[in-house]
Symmetry: C2
Subunit: 343 residues, 2 copies
């Protein structure tokens, strides 16, 4: 298997990206990585890191898409960017998966343009594995690819999220919850009220009802379904709340010599909590519904996070998730057609 890595995407590109690839390659002895970006610079880094190996190749790409650039304009104007070239490697079957820590919007738009959707999937979704209070993460989608959604989109998110949770996170019969304000079926906005009914009837998934925002981190459900606006609010707000609380804690710790000494005793435990709340530990997340294996690493990814993202992409590709999504979509379509003929 060969994984394409956009070596010039993300806040710490290219050095940490290359280092992440080097770490990853040592954990996947059968596979190859192709680094996409300025060949000379990448050669220099590999030399400096003494990390030259036959299994890491370079595909030259002149341009770079910055984090702040307008996605649609960037992918139109920079066809030779590391991001677009990396995507095209998957399109041309020169790579089995692609990983980038670059501009999310451009990556989404580029994946859509270059690879397209899985046939039958209405809207690809950005999917994140969230930390929880229990020992396994919950999958949440969509977290930002689709700000406005129709009910049928959320139903497909539920189906794709279930496949992901079961085949990548190895969760048996994953429990699907609909993010909603209130536990009762009749609660919510027009979208969630309609989606609740559709999910209840859906036999492809294990729908367990609404999940309230208060319980998102409790790990009571394995897949959390919502529109992309709400999902993006959720992950950014958790991040913001945790970070605000940690800065308040820091102030308490640095108040006096006494508190500093006390904080030192608690440090290992606190570090563990911080690690748990840190999404990068969970590696990259897939763009579910794109016709190709497309993984997004956090923009601030370091080498460790990149390694996790590359390994996650490899695992996803090996598990044949997209084929499973295609099967379910086709089954649903056949069912709809059969129902139409009966009517």
């Amino acid at each position: 298997m060969k994984i394409a890595v956009d070596a010039f995407g993300g806040d710490n590109a290219p050095l940490e990206i290359v280092r992440g690839a080097v770490l990853a390659i040592s954990e996947m002895p059968e596979d190859d990585i192709v680094l996409v970006g300025n060949e000379q610079k990448l050669q220099e880094i590999l030399q400096a890191e003494s990390a030259q190996t036959e299994r890491i190749s370079i595909c030259h790409a002149e341009e770079v898409i910055g984090t702040g650039e307008s996605p649609v304009e960037a992918i139109r104007a920079k066809k030779n960017s590391s991001l677009m070239v990396a995507l095209s490697l998957v399109k041309n079957n020169e790579a089995d998966a692609v990983v980038s820590a670059g501009n999310t919007g451009a990556y989404l738009a580029g994946a859509f343009r270059v690879l397209g959707r899985i046939k039958g999937i209405k809207r690809p979704a950005l999917t994140t594995a969230m930390p929880t209070m229990v020992d396994r993460p919950s999958v949440i989608l969509d977290v930002g690819a689709n700000a406005d959604c129709r009910p049928e989109h959320l139903v497909q998110f539920a189906e794709m999220g279930s496949i992901y949770a079961s085949h990548v996170l190895h969760i048996d019969n994953p429990r699907v919850g609909l993010l909603n304000i209130g536990a009762e079926e009749a609660k919510g906005n027009a979208l969630t009220k309609e989606v609740h009914g559709l999910l209840k009837e859906n036999e492809e998934i294990n729908f367990v009802g609404n999940i309230e925002p208060r319980d998102v981190l409790c790990g009571d459900v394995d897949v959390i379904v919502c529109d992309g606006f709400t999902g993006n609010v959720v992950i950014k707000l958790i991040e913001g709340t945790a970070s605000s609380l940690f800065s308040m804690l820091k102030k308490v710790f640095y108040k006096s010599l006494k508190t500093k000494l006390a904080a030192a005793v608690l440090k290992p435990g606190l570090k563990e909590i911080k690690g748990k709340m840190d999404y990068t530990e969970y590696g990259g997340v897939p763009l579910l519904g794109i016709d190709g294996v497309v993984f997004k690493a956090h923009g601030s990814s370091n080498a460790i996070a990149m390694k996790h993202a590359i390994l996650a992409a490899r695992q996803y590709a090996a598990a044949g998730i997209n084929e499973k999504i295609k099967d379910i979509v086709m089954a649903a379509k056949a069912e709809d057609e059969a129902a139409e003929q009966t009517e």
Copy 2:
């Protein structure tokens, strides 16, 4: 001034509610409180608390609306409930404001039914003062009264929130932010994109642009505007995240004797953080846009929280906020009519 208090609303009713009223009355020497609920029980509590005063009277109401009851059915079936009778005291000018810690949905629906909206206000909004990293809270609305909103509703939320922040929280020229996924104007869903344009043109408010979920607790804006679904997700998710983090901290603290001793040193500072994240400290929140002063205290309010809510309602009534909302709505209407005539 006379404040009506629903003595049988909330998890700790009636004892803590009555105690809260007793605490409040001692801080408002010119005013009266009328406790609404079962007269005999309330007499007994006042006697037991040795808190009989001429300034606390009782208005008998036989029925109680529970937290779990369906709002619409409850207000229809229980016209003699403490909640509905308390609202009617304001309607009949027998009280200047009403405070309840009871069933939020029933309170909203009851206020709408009994008191109606301020003329010109399309949707009343539930408003919360949120803790922030700086020393003053931010106002956020709507946090749950309207799950589905149109752009013009959010514009009115911005106007009402500004008046509240300036006249109750005494924030000069309050900065209004639109909760959105992304800082740029073009980001967001169909609703926020349209609202951004409308707020930018609005001369009644000091609009400073989008605020991202990550920054909600930073205190960079004074009024945060969003639809009721998103707002409800925001406040419940902050509560849930904070509570999850505190339980993780607790585990770290109780790990060993050494960590227990260290935690004891840090306890005062940690308690301060917990207090900051505790909404009840900020007292009750108004139903902005209702034609009457209607304050909601947290369902789990204790005596201190009730005292704060009663004092906040008193201050709100004294500041004549609803009259100011009426003025702005009328000015906007006159402007619209003038614009129509010019066309």
